[in-house]
Every structure is written in structure tokens, then in C-alpha cells.
Symmetry: C2
Subunit: 452 residues, 2 copies
């Protein structure tokens, strides 16, 4: 039977989207890949419906691509093989906030910031803060194991997923993980599904660990003449006893592009900056002094300090807009998300600058330096130079792997980086990933065409 | 061909142990299970030998049970199906300590404390601290995803395994994970293997994340009239803004059993105690005061403070000896390792006490309260009451699961808790674990009989 007919018969037809105009919303995401149109999108409202859809898919042999809010940067939510997009954004309830045990049970469609704000009211904190915080779904964060600036202090999404309810292709629903902080009972399937980009199971419920609400943070922003000096200051900070919540590096080209946002005014000659956010800074002068001492060792051009929440918010707004501004200010942009061992950051930055230069491209590079995670953006307005994007990206990955790094720090592989997997992973390792995929989804119908 | 003959032909015969006296060392561990004698033990010296042994095993169809230093508490290293024990304790070199990137590359047979001491010299810290710290192997810790008191602040072993070299049954060797802090490139096989109790692959190299050396810790020890008051003080601490490195609960019976060790002298009427270790306590009076304030809210009988390293060491020695002393002081002892959501700790403690009472057993209970992880010991000198151990343990697990907890906080399932797996995990979830095991080890020859 035709997929559309089948879906309309089995579900409420209002949950089945088929017209091309409406399907456009499900054909792209933030990766810039596609569009890839599905035959239909199904708006799930309950775990039972997810179960039923995945049972039908297995019986009828159609592909299903789960989707949160489409903010992914590697194409994980794109239906590259057609079939049905399983839209999870309707399942977004908070089912429980347990203050005493510091956990929340939620549906996967909830916006990450909504969860953060809800638990804050209960004197709790959910740390992961991807740039798309206010528009991304928690389920998408778990699927991609999202990070963000505060991952430096608090770790990535994986550290906060205690357990889940999930459904595999074929419609088997099961509970994984636990509600306790610790647990070593059987294989860590929760960890395996986190970051598996929707290729192994669809989440229908998430048990998230929370931590006590932190004290008021402050930000110290140090500008340096060149990126190498800024990178060296990062290294000095890392080996000190101060523990920032976030430790971000921003290169000169990125600084220029965000100048003016919310009054952001770097020195004109700045070639690099460090943004260091620390808990308790507004009322701890000794801490502030220790931090300033370390940053001044690198001979900065200028140091800015933001103590009140609104000043901090303005700085974060500027920082979070680097990618958007680079895109607005150039005709062509391609952005990557590498991670290297921390000590390799200065070398990575230098080599990436050299790659850009060789290919006649501009490069804006920024990111979570404390974690060795850099967002590298090649930009140009020139049609000729644009053709060098592919070559530059390939060289970027080769360089990254040679420095002991990885293809993706927090965006995932999806379709965008799939062809580079063999650069990083040896054949035996890829075989073992294939074996898991095959064991769980033998027909290769759940988000096919991703990662492997 | 006979296994022994084969091993002697293929390897240096001095690495092949076959006489029963020597094999005794490989027939038991710290679980109290067994003895289970293997046909032989093979003393591996290199990844290539591990590869070759696992290739031979697959071809000839004999079971292989990897073993670190045999300190496991759930029988994970016991060769319950005979075959060959693969002794990894000869592979114990430190291959690299990278100070700037805060990581170490080591062989799995290294003693955990040896690694800790080596990296400390480089101003780095490896946090996990299982009780067997000075006798256990790092590879065993990774296989069981070991915890320890400081897991409260720093997390369990899994948080520190960045990558590994591993060999699957059949002899495929591969590299997993990365050297960068963050990374989301393909399935998290490193996380899957951590805690898989040697059933999926044998580690031949481990890449461990390290953190900056912490400041000098101090310990505050608060004694309460009963365990419930102590448990309430734990809850108060958890919702405060102080961040202990370790937060331990000790019940009255355990306190009595360790009285006298290194001068440990609890008040005679103490029914419970909290041991709270905090970084920076020796030189931060404000912190000490805040901590004392919280603990005094629970109306303690007495508060002890240990500021200098040797006083702290003495307290830890007493605390670490609870299990040993309970064993020495009673004819029969059985110990379990449950974890519950933190808020359920007072209820768990009360219900466990009731289980012990009903079965005429003494109960010594202590553990990592901050993580909801409790070590429950039933003890008795009475032959009749001893027969109730099995029933008490079953009730303990039923209670634990009912409170939203898990069978094991840090010791693993092994053979000791295998029969209780269905209490915690639904059939679909167990099916998915089986599917992974089958995909990686279709002949079921790598550490068979464990977990599933």
C-alpha cells in the first residue's frame, strides 16, 4: 500500500503532512545540505504512535527519519532516502521535576532552554548550552550529544542523560538507564544511543540529571594582538587552579564581524580574544585578581570585565552571533566543527590559517578552546575561491586527524562528514559500528544514510 | 588440538600457566564466588599476543576470560566456562603522559594508584578511587566502570576514558575514541566498552583524560544519633552550594566495627556519620564555616575536623576498612552495592534495616551517599540466620528497584547479580544487549556467562 494512504488510514490524517509546501519545513536543517523531501511527515503525539509508526515502517519497508527542531549542523534530521519524517516536536511535556533527586523526566521535543528555565525555578541547573539553545530540541541534543561553551566546566549532553524510553525500528519500546546518578547494570545503552544521531532508536522520554543552581557568573574578556597569544593564554589558564564555566577563543576575523553587536567594541588591532566566564566572580575579588593575573601574563591589548547579568548577556549575544554574522557578511560560507587535544590548539589554528590563505579564503575561527573544540568557518565573496571550499575542508580534516583530533566536537557526522569517517576510524572500528546498526536495524530503515 | 598443547606451540611456554596450584590464583576474585578453574592462564605481554590468542580462540572454539588484578566484586574475571584466562597484568607500562593536553596513554594492567601517583608528579590528577585503588588494575576499572568516593565530585571511570585500543573475539584489533576532550564522531564505542565487563573486547591500550591537580583537601566528619539524621544532613548538603569531593555515609554498626583503626573514635552512641571531604578546606575558613553550619543543622553529636594530610589519610583508612572489618568480625558476610535516586536514600536505609531485622541479620551499611550509592553488608555469626542471606539479598534488590534504583552502583553485574537483571531491565532492553553481544561475539566465547 502507498505510504501516504497507509499513514492516513492508521493515524489521524491531521497528523500526516503530505503537501509539498508544508514538507519544505522537513526537507532542510541548519547544515545547508539538501533539500531532501520526504514522502510525508508524521507529527507524533505519544510513544504509542511512535511504536506503531516504526512497526508499520518495518513491515512495509519505508525509511523513517526522526526530527526534533531541525537545528542540526550535519544533516542528521534530513530524510536523504525519502520515506517519512517522524516529527517529535509535538511531544514536549515536562513530566516530572524531582528537586530532591535532582532530575527531570521530559519528552524529547521540549526546547532545551524551556527545560533550563523550568528547572532553574526549582533551584536546579541543566548545563548544556548549544548555540541554538532557544530553538533546538532536547531530543536533538541527545541524538547529537550536543555541547556548548559550558561543556568546558560541566561536560556535554551525555553526562546528563541518566536514562530514557526509546523505540527501535520494528516498534519495540523499552526503558534504558536509571534514575540514580551511578549505575553499572548491563551495557550502557543510554550512552550508546546518546550521539547515535537517530540511527538506532527514537527517544520518547528522557531522564535528565540536573545539578545545583550555580552562583552568579561574571565574564572576563581579554584581547590579544594575535591569535597565538590568545591561544597561549588559554594554555596558561588550563594549567591554573581557576575553573571557568566557559573558556572561549575568538579570532580577529570573527571579532571584526561581531563588532557593534550589543555595543561589542574590540580594539581595532585585536587579532584574538579569550572569553572566560566564571561562577562567583561578581563577589570574589581574589578570584578575579587571580584570573586577571593569568590573562595578563599573555600581554593583552585590553581586558574587559562584565559583572552584572545584563552585561554578560550582551557579551554572549555577540559571541553567539559569530556564525550568523560571518554568513550575513559573505556570499559563501562553510563551517566545520573540529576538536583536537588541547595542547594542539595553537598548531591547529596556525595550520587552519595557512589552509585558508593557500586557497584564497577568509577564515573566522572561534570556539570552546578549553575543550579543544574549534568552529572553523571558511568564507568568501568570490565565485572562483568558493570552488576551493571542498579542498580546504578536506585539508582541514586531514590536519585535524594528524594532530590527534576528531572530525566533530559537537555537531555530529550526519551526512556532512560521512565521507571523512575513514580518515579518523580504522576499518575494524567501522565494522563494529556497522555490526551494531545491523543488529538493531537489520533493514536499515531508521535514519538511513547517516554516519556510516 | 588440545588447548594447552596449542598454546604451548603458539606462544612462549613460560607464558602459559597450567598447573593447578598456580591456576588457583586465577580461579577466584574478591566476589567470594567460585573457585572456577580455567584450563590454562595466558600471561599476555603485547597487543599482538592478545590478537593472536583471540584469533586462536575463535578458530578452536575455546572461551577466553580477560583478567586484570582480580579485585572485582561481582565475578567478572572468573572463568565460569573454563577455557583460558587472559592475564593482562603483565601489560602495565605508562606509554605517555601529555601534560599540556592533560592525558595519559597506558597499558591496562597498570595499578590504578600507580597511574595516579605518576600523573600527580606532572601536576595532574586521575580522580577515580575505588577502594582497591592500590591493588586493582586500570583495565579492570574500565571493564567494570569503577567508582569510588570521589566519583561524587569527579564522576566515575567512564568520564575519564577518552579512547582505547581493543581486540574483539576473533582477533580484530582496533582504535576507538580520541585524544580530544570532546568528540561525536560515530557511535560511542568507547563508552559502550566501558562497563561491558570484558564481554565485548579486550583492552590493550587506554587513553585516559586527566584534570589539574586539586588543592589540599580537608575532611569534616559529623556524627549523628541515628542514620536518618545523617541521611537528612546529606540531603541538606546536596542542595547547598558547597561542592564536596566526597560525601560518605556510615551507619552505626559500621562505625562500631572500625572503632580503633588509626585512632578512629566515634561517640559510643553514634548511629550514623557523614564524612565530607573538601578541596581547599585547610586554607578557607569561610568554606569550613559554611560546611559546619549545614552539618550542625542536623543536630550532630559531635563534629571532627581533619586538616592535615596525615589526619585525612587516617580517616580514609578507617573508612576504607569497613568492609574488611565487617568480614573479620563475623563468620558470614554478604555485601551488595545498590544505587538509588538521591532523595530515596533515607527510605532505602530504613527499608534495608527492616529487611535485616526480619531475617535476624546484622547490617552494616555505608557508601557514597552523594551519588545515592550504598554498600549494604548483611553479616551474622549464626549458621541458621546465614541461610536467610539469599532471601535478604533478593528483598534488597526488589526494594532498590521499587525505589527507582539499580542493582549495581559500581561493582558490575558479573555472575553475582546476573539472575536479578530481569528485575531491573525490561525484556526488550535485554534483547538489545543480547543483539550487541551477538554482533560482536557470535560464538559467545569472550567472557561467557557474564551479565546476560
Amino acid at each position: 500500500m502507498d505510504i501516504i494512504e497507509l499513514l492516513r488510514r492508521e493515524f489521524n490524517p491531521r497528523q500526516v503532512i503530505v503537501d509539498e509546501t508544508s514538507l519544505t519545513a522537513y526537507a532542510t536543517d541548519e547544515s545547508g545540505e539538501g533539500p531532501y523531501y520526504p514522502r510525508a511527515a508524521f507529527l507524533a503525539q505519544s510513544p504509542l504512535e511512535v511504536e506503531k509508526l516504526l512497526r508499520l515502517a518495518s513491515m512495509e519497508g519505508f525509511a523513517v527519519t526522526p526530527r526534533g527542531l531541525g537545528t542540526g549542523k550535519s544533516g542528521g534530521a534530513l530524510p536523504v532516502c525519502g520515506g517519512v519524517v517522524l516529527a517529535m516536536d509535538g511531544m514536549k511535556r515536562i513530566l516530572e521535576i524531582d528537586e530532591d533527586s535532582s532530575l527531570a523526566i521530559v519528552e524529547p521535543g521540549i526546547i532545551t532552554q524551556t527545560l533550563q528555565q523550568a528547572v532553574w525555578e526549582h533551584r536546579l541547573f541543566y548545563p548544556p548550552d548549544p548555540a541554538s539553545l532557544d530553538t533546538c530540541s532536547l531530543g536533538g541534543n541527545v541524538a547529537e550529544n550536543a555541547g556548548g561553551p559550558r561543556a568546558f566546566r560541566y561536560g556535554v549532553t551525555r553526562e546528563y542523560v541518566l536514562g530514557m524510553e526509546a523505540v527501535t525500528m520494528g516498534g519495540k519500546r523499552f526503558n534504558l538507564g536509571r534514575k540514580s546518578i551511578k549505575g553499572v547494570s548491563g551495557y550502557d545503552l543510554t550512552g550508546l544511543l546518546t550521539g547515535s544521531e537517530g540511527t538506532l532508536a527514537v527517544f520518547t522520554k528522557l531522564i535528565m540529571r540536573l545539578i545545583p543552581r550555580h552562583r552568579e557568573p561574571g565574564i572576563v574578556l581579554a584581547f590579544y594582538a594575535d591569535l597565538a597569544s590568545a591561544a597561549r593564554a588559554v594554555t596558561a589558564l588550563l594549567s591554573s587552579s581557576v575553573h571557568p564555566m566557559a573558556l572561549e577563543l575568538i579570532d580577529g576575523y570573527s571579532l571584526k564581524n561581531i563588532t557593534g553587536i550589543e555595543g561589542f567594541a574590540p580594539p581595532a588591532e585585536a587579532g584574538g580574544a579569550i572569553l572566560c566566564e566564571m561562577e562567583g566572580l561578581p563577589d570574589d575579588d581574589a578570584l578575579l585578581e587571580r584570573l586577571a593575573d593569568i590573562l595578563e601574563g599573555g600581554d593583552p591589548l585590553h581586558i574587559d570585565v562584565a559583572m552584572d547579568p545584563s552585561a554578560c548577556r550582551r557579551l554572549w549575544t555577540a559571541r553567539r552571533n559569530v556564525s550568523t554574522r560571518l554568513k550575513e557578511n559573505h556570499r559563501y560560507k562553510i563551517s566545520e566543527d573540529i576538536a583536537v587535544p588541547r595542547a594542539a590548539i595553537p598548531a591547529a589554528v596556525a595550520q587552519v590559517q595557512e589552509i585558508a590563505r593557500r586557497h584564497g579564503l577568509h577564515m573566522g575561527c572561534y570556539g570552546h578552546a578549553g575543550d579543544g573544540n574549534l568552529h572553523v568557518n571558511f568564507v568568501t565573496d568570490d565565485d572562483g575561491a568558493r570552488k576551493n571550499f571542498a579542498m580546504a575542508v578536506e585539508e582541514l580534516f586531514v590536519t585535524t586527524i594528524r594532530l590527534g583530533g576528531t572530525l566533530s566536537g559537537e555537531h555530529g557526522i550526519g551526512i556532512s562528514k560521512k565521507r571523512f569517517m575513514a580518515l579518523e576510524h580504522d576499518p575494524n572500528s567501522l565494522d563494529m559500528m556497522h555490526a551494531i546498526k545491523k543488529a538493531w536495524d537489520p533493514q536499515n530503515l531508521l535514519n538511513p544514510g547517516k554516519i556510516l
